[in-house]
């Protein structure tokens, strides 16, 4: 089931540059269904599966395995951890959050002095990132060093909650939803041959994808993503970017890519023909692996099919479950179209 796969994937730790856990899980899941599996020095996972037909063009689906998180930079004398961001975060979501650090998942919390001890002015601003810290309950640097080294990655609390009328909350829905769709497709019979590219380091600028695109050399690539929904209370009109409950998102452009018009139109048509609600973005925001892939080698035609995600790049990403399922349906319809 798509949702079970998504939930399992969201619980894995795959902060940018440390995607091993996610890659190992996916590899194990898809191994029995793959015709070819490759990895490369960037840690990308590239899986080929034969379908009913071999299209003239080489078709690829692409999702990124990495998630935003933190990287430990220093251990203080009294046993607290300093950190920096791995991927783009709004530091306003950090205070009072739980994290798990390193391969042994050492629990920690991002502390902040009690509100009672702050001035009215201090309460209006966020501490600088360099002044924030993680408390792992260690009393000294020596104690902390028993389990922590600078360079270790920290991921957010991984509790998955289904709530409301068909919503799911988890960390890393961006982009485990795309990974889940690809795993589901790999476990089914395909309408055409397809490469499935699971990339690394998307959150720091499509670094994995730029290499993976060279290694696969696709002609057409569909990016499967989780994207920025700003449809929270108090935000109106175009500023909402995209809205949960309004369907899968087919962007025509974002900050780093102008998507292939014909492919966008095809996706929209397939959605309408099959009763899948869809929307596009009402502001040019965000970016995907498409930018690295589109301009790789002799050029690649790219489109994106995304799920709207609230609180993206936070421990409390929220998505509509039916839209994750629709992302999977429409991706399959896209492959059927490519088979023609």
């Amino acid at each position: 089931m798509m949702l079970d796969t998504l939930e399992t994937l969201c619980c894995l730790s795959g902060v940018t540059g440390g995607e091993d856990e996610v890659r190992d899980y996916i590899m194990e899941r898809v191994m029995p269904h793959a015709d070819e599996i490759r990895t490369d020095p960037m840690g990308n996972l590239m899986v080929f599966k034969k379908g009913a037909v071999a299209p003239a063009q080489r078709v690829a689906l692409c999702a990124h395995m990495d998630e935003v998180g933190l990287i430990i930079t220093y251990i203080t004398e009294d046993g607290y951890l300093r950190f920096d961001m791995a991927g783009g975060l709004d530091r306003r979501i950090l205070l009072g959050k739980r994290v798990f650090i390193g391969p042994d998942r050492v629990p920690g919390v991002i502390g902040s002095k009690a509100v009672h001890l702050t001035t009215a002015e201090q309460r209006k601003v966020l501490p600088e990132l360099k002044d924030m810290f993680i408390d792992i309950g260690a009393a000294s640097r020596e104690e902390a060093e028993q389990s922590i080294r600078p360079g270790m990655l920290a991921s957010f609390d991984d509790a998955v909650v289904r709530f409301g009328s068909g919503y799911v909350k988890a960390k890393a829905i961006d982009d485990r939803t795309g990974c889940a769709v690809m795993v589901e497709l790999l476990e089914s019979d395909l309408p055409c041959d397809c490469w499935f590219i699971f990339t690394t380091q998307e959150e720091v600028g499509g670094r994995g994808a730029s290499v993976a695109a060279r290694n696969v050399e696709p002609d057409v690539t569909l990016i499967l993503e989780g994207t920025t929904a700003a449809d929270i209370a108090g935000v109106e009109g175009a500023d909402r970017v995209c809205r949960l409950g309004q369907g899968v998102v087919i962007p025509y452009m974002d900050k780093s890519t102008i998507y292939d018009r014909e492919l966008c139109a095809t996706l929209g048509r397939l959605a309408e023909e099959n009763g899948i609600p869809w929307q596009t973005k009402t502001r040019i925001a965000g970016g995907t692996d498409a930018s690295a892939i589109q301009r790789s080698g002799t050029g690649v035609r790219v489109a994106a099919l995304s799920v709207a995600v609230r609180n993206i790049h936070s421990p409390a990403c929220v998505a509509k479950i039916s839209e994750c399922e629709d992302q999977c349906r429409l991706a399959r319809l896209f492959l059927e179209e490519m088979a023609k």
């Binding site: 979501i93 009072g96 309460r123 966020l126 936070s314």
Partner: protein, 342 residues
């Protein structure tokens, strides 16, 4: 069934009891202490009061107090399915973006306090706290669904429990003051099995976070001769280096006008005699900001001490305390009551 101090604390922190809505904590405590208490009572404020009588004529009464309420939220309106809320007690607004909460409907529902994606937020805004008026709880419902499920006036709490951190710390929501409730409950359990010279009352009071309201009524009703208020106190953190109290250094004993010197001095002496780790916690103002404020001036006056548990990140969902400090507080309080004369 009796629980160890650490486990009891975890169980209490898992309960939802924001200021004014503490019933689940009352019910738990009532079941827990029923086997050992002579009396269990409540009052119009919802305080939990367990009494152990020593059986001596005209016995004096010792009141142990901790509060059961925690900070939280209360739903004030619903807009497009999102819940508008205000705070119950002193909430740090900076803890709220992308925060998970439990909305206390029956059964409770899960919610998230939404925030904008960083992709559309100007970098200059990211250093500023979000205006609390722009924060809403997302329960994944339409206006109609939310109106049907969430009555205005429903309370909410942080959706965090309490777990272990490091080798001997606890971390979670509402350790202020459930950890101290656990301390006095365990002390009471121990004292209930002993031959004492005084009556002991274990009061776990309501509405401390909005001004010590429960304790004021409870102390009046119980009319104690002596009292020990047990609450948390700020411990030093990397961003509050000037705080002298340290996590892991033992029970913090309050010193100042709100605390009667005779009992305070006796507590320090006991700490030395019995090798219980203690540290001073100077509170120079007339009010210590705890239930001791109101208890000390109840009726004709009460001989009052304040024993505090050092706690980091007070009023956040990730409060941190040391289990060793909790044990020290419990030991010190029990030892004091055991030594009380007729």
């Amino acid at each position: 069934m009796s629980m160890e101090l650490k486990e009891l604390t975890k169980a209490l922190c898992a309960l939802s009891g924001p200021t004014g809505f503490e019933t689940p904590v009352y019910d738990f405590l009532s079941d827990y202490l029923k086997p050992v208490a002579d009396e269990i009572r409540t009052d119009s404020m919802g305080n939990f009061i367990a009494v152990k009588r020593c059986g001596k004529p005209n016995a004096r009464m010792m009141l142990l107090d901790a509060h059961m309420d925690e900070i939280g939220f209360i739903v004030t309106d619903i807009k497009n399915g999102f819940l508008c809320f205000e705070n119950l007690g002193g909430v740090d607004q900076r803890m709220l973006p992308a925060r998970e909460v439990k909305v206390l409907t029956d059964p409770p529902i899960f919610g998230v306090i939404d925030t904008l994606p960083p992709h559309v937020v100007p970098a200059s805004e990211m250093g500023k706290a979000i205006d609390p008026k722009k924060l809403y709880i997302d329960v994944g419902m339409s206006q109609e669904e939310a109106e049907a499920r969430v009555p205005i006036g429903t309370a909410a709490v942080y959706a965090a429990g309490c777990g272990e951190l490091g080798s001997n710390m606890l971390c979670g929501k509402s350790l202020d003051d459930r950890a101290c409730a656990a301390i006095i409950v365990k002390a009471f359990e121990r004292l209930a099995g002993e031959d004492l010279q005084v009556d002991v009352c274990c009061q776990v009071s309501t509405q401390e976070e909005v001004g010590h309201r429960g304790a004021k009524v409870g102390a009046w009703t119980m009319d104690p001769d002596e009292a020990i208020a047990v609450d948390v106190t700020h411990a030093q953190t990397p961003d509050a280096k000037d705080v002298p109290v340290l996590c892991g250094r033992g029970a913090a004993i309050g010193i100042g006008p709100n605390m009667t010197p005779s009992i305070t001095n006796r507590l320090f002496a006991l700490g030395r005699e019995k090798e219980i780790a203690c540290q001073p916690d100077v509170s120079p103002r007339g009010n210590s900001g705890t239930n001791a404020d109101v208890i000390q001036v109840t009726r004709g006056g009460v001989t009052t001490a304040l024993v505090s548990l050092p706690l980091k990140y007070m009023h956040t969902p990730v409060e941190v305390v040391s289990c060793a400090d909790m044990e020290a507080c419990c030991e010190l309080i029990a030892a004091y009551v055991e030594g009380m004369e007729v």
